[in-house]
Subunit: 161 residues, 2 copies
């Protein structure tokens, strides 16, 4: 379970968009990542489960990629929501973003059994598109960096496939 983010943007997604395995509050089998503001940066905190192993003692890269991915879309939603005059907790529904691209650089083996903290710095690259530069920390050690490009989910998402 995630923790330590009181007002998460994921609490503001409409119910129909709250089933993401990474960050959907209604997906009870998922990670339920929670992303909020920390000053002008964004933060998501998550403690991987025992089964999220790469080799015993270290966290699986796919979990770190997932954390960066959802942290990115959540951060983009936070940014547009604030631009629209809203903050998580004020009762307004937040816009939902999808990931256009995801880049992860694994810097160091990431120890299991400790919370991971993803920190995001947001760059607006288009009125409906944001780049989020992410660092993932275990304690004070940056174990991975990444970049997410997230675009506002189109109304037509999935209808043409």
């Amino acid at each position: 379970m995630s923790s330590d983010v009181l007002h998460a943007i994921q609490d503001c997604y409409p119910d129909d968009f709250s089933w993401c395995y990474g960050c959907g509050r209604l997906n009870e089998l998922g990670h339920q990542f929670r992303t909020g503001w920390n000053g002008d940066q964004t933060v998501t905190i998550y403690t991987p489960k025992a089964e999220h192993t790469a080799i015993p003692g270290f966290v699986y890269g796919g979990l770190i990629a997932s954390l960066i991915d959802c942290h990115g879309t959540g951060s983009a939603s936070l940014a547009l929501h604030r631009k629209n005059g809203h903050e998580p907790g004020d009762g307004e529904e937040a816009p939902r973003f999808v990931t256009a691209s995801l880049q992860v650089n694994f810097q160091k083996p990431t120890p299991q059994g400790q919370p991971l903290k993803a920190m995001g710095t947001i760059e607006e690259i288009h009125p409906k598109k944001f780049a989020i530069h992410v660092e993932v920390f275990s304690g004070d050690v940056c174990c991975a960096t990444g970049k997410v490009v997230a675009a506002k989910m189109p109304e037509s998402f999935g209808q043409s496939t």
Copy 2:
């Protein structure tokens, strides 16, 4: 569960390196991806579970990133194993790789309920380092592309952290 790959490189990893949540054959809670040769390309086939949702009906990006990640390390292991004169199924242990970097470009919403097929093209960039160019298909549709840079796991992996 994965399927359709008879001789998978993951069957050749030493037991101590077979606990990966993505591709470890001993991790019963994980995806147990299986990666093998398909001519000069590599293939991993996996059908996401019902809970691996992005929005209902579509697959979670983090699962696709995880598939590309483990498909990349598995492909690199296949490549070095073949270079060393071995093929999965011949009883020889295979070298284990770690991911240095992972890039994913999400091209189209990926429908749930169908197998995903990751196809890899391997590029040797150093005797112990490979780049794997990956396409992920749902049926005939390429839903995501990616690139993994995988390096042979150092003997000292994790000892200095």
